[in-house]
Amino acid sequence: MKILVCISKTPDTTAKIAFTENNTKFVSDGVQWIINPYDEWYALVRAIELKEKDPSTVLHLVTVGGADTEPIIRKALALGGDEAYRINAEPGDAYAVATQIAALAKDQGYDLILTGKETIDFNNSATGGFLAEMLDVPYVSLATKLDLNGTSATLNREIEGGEETMEVTLPMVVSCQKGMAEARIPNMRGIMAARTKPLKVVEPVALDTLTSVVQYELPPAKAGVKLVPADNPAELVRLLHEEAKMI
């Protein structure tokens, strides 16, 4: 079994979101960068679990990004994985990311490619679908469970108002979310081992984008909360009914 996990770098969940240069650039000063939580907690940890079940599994990680993504991919390697690739490009959009990963994965015989459900900065939820189409393999999005049985996988995926269990022929691409695995933290042994695991820098194929960011915008500040005294909850209900017209 050969598995590839796609790892992206995102601002920490508590990072202050601000923009500069006429709202065209994200202010990254002072921002702490983390592995995108869906990639770490669900895609990567599930892949590690699958490798623990079947130690002959080959587990590769890939990220598309500049040299500044290396601490992130090293941290991922500290959790698990045999080796990592960094495709040395600053991708303009998710399509560009997928183009690069597809070029790397093509003909490499991966049975399974895992992505996170979405990046918490761009919230595209698109890279996995792009990748599956480029590689012409099945795609299961928003998966909450994944097991391998030789040449196929059994998965649960979120559907509106519930879940669906499905069997899919490998190879395939899966986007992972909550339910897949329990979060882990790297231990000392893992951190030491990660230092010597191969991290291969690959030059990109032609960069192709279909979209570009024109400008960012912060939502308007809330007008402020209207507080109702604790001894008069009926007044709150009246406001929601008559003023906000919500109930």
């Binding site: 279909l210 939502p219 929601l240 109930i247």
Partner: protein
């Protein structure tokens, strides 16, 4: 040169979010000076022609029973072929679980730029620029689609349904349906409750409610309002509530009209999943709880006293 809207249905009934997508597609077509059409895969039990009241001129149908299983690979092939046959320049999806599964594949297949999570109609003054949510609801980005063909996935509850008069002509499309590598073994729908991601109102509880035995009042309020129930992450982690109720950065991201948060502090990761709600109501005994900064209405007080009184007041106005 037209707009084609993907119409998602559940066992033949068109989903509400698809009606939003139809209204969006029709408004976009008007803006572009062209027509909008809908595309149904599988079969509807309702009258397809009546979808004309959402502003579309035509409904195309590919009614192969194999399409009752959602396989993104198969769907992408069928939708792309349908787009080609009908001369669609812009494809519109709803950014639901189905949309997230299918829209990216269609976009990649057509080499069309995709904006998922759109919250407004495109600005056509300078190219084709679509506003979308980024940073988990903490900001917006205006994204230019630079390819000739375009795909937009509209966020649920971001664009209102516009219903008028009119009837659409229904046309069967001859499109070949490839074999699927996906077999659905079981479907498990949570019945009897309003699905969280489709709900217009949500009542949510946090660790402040102390234990699962105190959720009766949350459920009662939700039932009275026709709302779905949700919870914060520690509540789901402690198994006080099922995991499918967990909202926030790592749970569901929702955008209902009304979000009532009871005993939830309003941590930034929780807000990331709910800050797109139109009206936020917070009940918390701590006046310093960060949630009040994101709220429209609030009561600083003990939930165990406030909520039962709210329930009485809601009953009184029903």
């Amino acid at each position: 040169m037209s707009v084609l809207v993907f119409i998602d249905h559940s066992e033949g009934t068109v989903k509400k979010n698809s009606l939003e997508a139809l209204s969006y597609g029709a408004a976009l077509a008007a803006k572009m000076g062209t027509d909008a059409a809908g595309l149904v895969l599988g079969t509807l039990t309702e009258d397809a022609a009546s979808l004309g009241k959402y502003g579309i001129k035509k409904v195309y149908q590919v009614s192969d029973a194999a399409l009752n299983v959602l396989d993104a690979q198969v769907y992408a092939q069928v939708i792309t072929e349908a787009a080609g046959k009908t001369g669609a320049q812009v494809l519109v999806f709803s950014n639901t679980t189905t949309g997230k599964s299918v829209a990216p594949r269609v976009a990649a297949r057509m080499k069309a730029g995709l904006v998922s999570g759109a919250v407004a109609l495109p600005d056509l003054q300078n190219g084709f620029v679509v506003k979308k949510n980024v940073f988990s609801g903490k900001a917006f980005a205006h994204i230019a689609i630079t390819s000739a063909q375009k795909v937009i996935a509209v966020n649920p509850n971001a664009f209102s349904i516009i219903a008028g008069e009119g009837s659409a002509t229904v046309e069967a499309l001859g499109v070949s349906v490839p074999a699927s590598k996906v077999k659905v073994v079981a479907t498990n729908k949570i019945t009897g409750e309003v699905p969280l991601t489709e709900a217009e109102k949500v009542v949510s509880g946090g660790r402040g409610l102390k234990g699962p035995e105190h959720w009766g009042m949350v459920e009662e309020m939700a039932k009275l309002l026709g709302a779905a129930t949700a919870c914060s992450r520690p509540v789901a982690d402690a198994h006080w509530r099922p995991h499918h109720e967990h909202v926030g950065q790592t749970g569901f991201a929702i955008a209902p009209n009304l979000y009532i948060a009871i005993g939830i502090s309003g941590a930034i990761q929780h807000l990331a999943g709910v800050n797109r709600s139109k009206c936020i109501v917070v009940i918390n005994k701590d006046p310093e709880a960060p949630f009040f900064k994101a709220a429209d209405y609030g009561i600083v007080g003990d939930a165990f006293e406030v909520v039962p009184k709210m329930i009485e007041a809601i009953k009184a106005i029903r």
